[in-house]
Symmetry: D2
Subunit: 351 residues, 4 copies
């Protein structure tokens, strides 16, 4: 497939380029009769939108969502919910200089090889801007999941080499890093600020916790719940790895130590991260993703142009020195989409 | 979907339980006119089959493949290739004792919650045995990829806390760990032997390197090449994480440092692991997976039965104290399936 | 699935309701580098749009298409082509009276049973207006097919009980019935005019001929070319049957008579309608669809409301007394989508 | 896709060739916990199997089904149900003579064009024998549907130019034509016998009636219930058309006449054939398919060989002079598969 759709029953299809007319999403398979408003969607989009703080790009997009279809009198009708965000602050001129250059770390070279042409306007479909469409769809999924008792929360666990050592859920949305540790957030901010001044960038780790998922969700073989979450997360630009529960830390453990034992009250530990054999255990689902340092840096780099000629490049434009905080709502949105889909899948199986 | 199929154009569907009559696979979308024999398939199955050494289960399965359809006069016809492996050394009695018990670390509990019933015979569909069907399909994909110049090689990078420090591809298939470092392999073997004596187990890291993939393969958004490989790997029981290129190691790097620069001769480094924006760069594709310690251990563990009653369990049966070496051909097989599918996808796009 | 997507490689997803903000389509899997303009799309939409003549509804929709994404500098980029048509002449008030009534012959009752709610605004997703999105996508497919030498032409073969007896392709677009026989068209027009005056409607037969399809397209079993065309056509509201080649007329023939013999120059007849075993023969593909009389009639009819109460209904609004001529471009568009998809499918198989 | 799978949630994948080792099917998405036995499946297979009477081929296949997976202790487990039928009475030698000839009316020519090679053994995947796999899967679906109160019954309405004029459901399985009118069946038998003596064949019409389907099943746009049934039926070799309810007979009717009115007791007529806007009305679903005369006839015919040379052909082998009676259980089976899938689809939507 051409890869612009995701999900089986609750299925999204995104479209639009970073510096084109608009980006949008069509969500199919939405339960009918559910209350939803543009405000519900906008709330999540505002968390992702650019220009929120000094660690994010200064591009000014209102990211205002328009629900075009699938909602009537404030309720979903069961037909496709199409949502559109018109691009406003586009500056294709920012990209004129690099129209024939491949930016290091970006998909410029690979897209050129795949499609045989170059849409040089700020990454086109490979731009992080595409994820706004996912956040919109995710907000819809989140609304549906809330009624099922499921909540999804992600945050920056590590950035610029600083890791959180405390966990206070209440502070996450109150600092520009979306970190659960204010002290750590402060240090991250300083380091990122220093890097930004040098025109450079950094990466980090985003952790996600999902509560309230009933036991028995997920498929047994290829569509394991962790396989689907992994696909969802690796489909985000800049994500280079994922781990569940104890993750890479489990490899040196003993089986007797890693296994989560049970007593009458339930599981006694959660090393598995809430998933066994690809199916939810009923415990909290926990995973972490590795986020690479932002590719757009304004230090001089070596590259080539579409004719193979060697060139030096200094990437201008407006970019996030660390994308973790803006990834947080995207990670949550994609998680919601996966889970909503799984609830429907299980209903179909048992019907 | 019910999750027993994988791939879009080159698409496999597996069936069968560990201790049922047989396991098998149907492969659809196979290029017609390609020479293939049961020998080609058997070679890969023999690498995965049980009973190869002291680090693997002593179950004796010949794992002999039967090609049932889709091949005529030694060549693929373009119609579905069905392959079956009849189970021979099944011992459902081994599992009689635990028919109402949930084995810690296994999918027993979650399958029971999902399906409302218990197929207690050795894990059923959740058993590692299901992966033999994938290896058979992967062997077919590998044959097709070879003609495209693509080679896939996996190996145990770390096991029982020991990591390889040298890389000699020629020794991989010559030691029971499938490690590229004989010294390390020896140490791993000792440690695993000691653990096995205690009835315990360990995990490890399997690394995979794919050479010869042309630039431009993979899809831009949801079906990114890394997203699909991640889904493929996390669909393997016991895999708890995956990372590409520098993986989790990239999170503290600077963008200017992590970006792979280019000159007229190509990329100057491969921190990205051969994939940018979800699409192949033409460089070697490199990823690593975290393999958890085998769940089946014969030390006493706490668990419950299907009635919620607390019980002690000692898992008998025949199990691998470390599954890394037997995962190696499975990781390769799944990688082949993903890549063969992507070649077809790209052909469809450009048609 | 929720049924708003069609196609495998060349895949469309439509959204929007008849009397909502807009209708639209996302087309994924479009070959990159192909010249396309809004004018190319508009040409086909203008053939379907309302208000063309006395046999079509008087609703006035400009049906102006906006290409939102997937085209850059006049060429497709290989990313999703989203197209939107904003609704302008909506009159939800026309439907206020019937907001609790089920219109006979319409999907009002069945949608209510399916979704548990009533979007009474002119049929919502079940409205013929949804097909404008298909025509837009079909125009894109047609452009791609033209380069392959494929042409698709449909026309009204029968309407109001009058059947064409001559075939002049040049007159099809020159009469309001889109009939290939001007004499017959004239009679149809008279009969339809008379029915319209009585507030009643009629049906007809649309025939479609596809030239230039190479031999070997289509899949062998479930996705036979005729099966997919049948699904495409029966997915159009008001279509109650389809037949290929000699169609229902073949049932009384002898095998020796119906079989299309061959000599060195090719097939000697085309009773099969260009498809054998689900795969194209290289001959002209020919099928006919049965179009039911328009359900919206202003004669009094018996029905019930959503509370089960018996009511009389007189359907007002603006409707086509015979939808055949406006179905013609839709039939062509859907045929183009199927065929473009098949070309890509075959490329993937042979890759 | 490569076209060997059908269905979304309840999804079947068939494999195997007419004169290969076996044919089979994998059924995914089966509700767990349902009682099923090989006997349940065999009953339906016996209705399709060859050698039942003088109107069917004399090939002797026991068509004995083996359930390989997905059933444990007599109940479905929710994992894939694989079923295999080994071929026994294969006579590839029957086909040696025609290994380079294209049989008129068969898929020989088109398969050769598609795949570039010739599996000359009796049609391979294009053989009617493939449908045994569908019947097996259909028998499973039928079992599930019975619990939902749905019954599916097909029969020969017309054959050899003779149409039934009475309808007695009790005689359908008691005459070799599976016709609901014994008088008509007798005449059909005579005519078919005469044709068979001449080495020729005939076609017919099979009608199908589905009772007990609840209102609200089916999807609104592309996956309309009639679109899916049409795809299912046209995916059967030899079927050249389908019509629902009044079918082609509706085209000359008036809207006011064709519309099914309602009163408090429900629909007053069923011209629609139980489907409005692609969604079930709760009335009986009724459709008819046009079955072409069997292509295999032993009268001399003109054809070419794979080198393009003109040849005369007399098709030997063992063939049905009219395939209608053996199509009956296949039509029922495919209908069951579609409907079971739709029940699951609706459950997913409403979840």
């Amino acid at each position: 497939m051409s890869g612009n759709s995701f999900g089986n029953f609750f299925r999204i299809t995104t479209f639009g380029e970073s510096h084109g007319k608009a980006i949008g999403v069509v969500v199919d398979g939405v339960t009918p009769g559910v209350s939803i408003s543009e405000k519900d969607i906008q709330r999540e989009l505002d968390r992702r939108k650019p220009g929120q703080s000094e660690v994010t790009t200064s591009r000014r997009e209102s990211d205002r969502v328009h629900i075009i279809s699938g909602v009537f009198n404030g309720k979903t009708t069961g037909t496709p919910v199409a949502m559109i965000l018109y691009n406003s602050d586009i500056r294709p001129k920012d990209y004129e200089e690099i129209r024939e250059l491949f930016r290091p770390g970006h998909a410029d070279f690979t897209f050129y090889k795949k499609y045989g042409l170059r849409d040089y306007r700020g990454g086109g479909r490979a731009s992080g801007r595409e994820t706004a469409a996912r956040v919109a769809a995710g907000a819809l999924a989140r609304k549906l999941l809330l009624a099922r008792g499921v909540t999804v929360s992600a945050y920056t666990l590590r950035a610029a080499g600083v890791e959180c050592s405390t966990f206070d859920p209440d502070v996450i949305e109150k600092n520009p890093l979306r970190a659960p540790d204010l002290q750590a957030a402060k240090k991250m901010l300083e380091k990122i600020g220093a890097l930004a001044k040098e025109g450079d960038s950094t990466g980090g780790i985003v952790e996600c916790r999902i509560k309230g998922v009933k036991a028995g969700l997920g498929e047994p073989v290829f569509e394991k719940l962790d396989a689907r979450l992994a696909a969802a997360m690796l489909s985000l630009g800049g994500v280079k790895g994922i781990e569940f529960g104890r993750g890479f830390g489990c490899v040196d453990m003993r089986g007797s130590e890693h296994n989560d034992w049970m007593d009458a009250s339930g599981f006694l530990s959660n090393n598995a991260g809430g998933i066994l054999g690809g199916i939810s255990t009923g415990e909290e689902i926990v995973f972490r993703i590795a986020v690479k340092p932002t590719s757009s840096v304004s230090v001089p780099q070596r590259t080539i142009d579409i004719h193979g000629k060697e060139r030096e490049i200094i990437v201008k434009g407006r970019h996030d020195p660390c994308i973790c905080p803006r990834l947080v709502p995207v990670v949550e949105g994609m998680s919601c989409i996966v889970l909503e889909d799984e609830y429907k899948s299980q209903a179909a199986l048992l019907e």
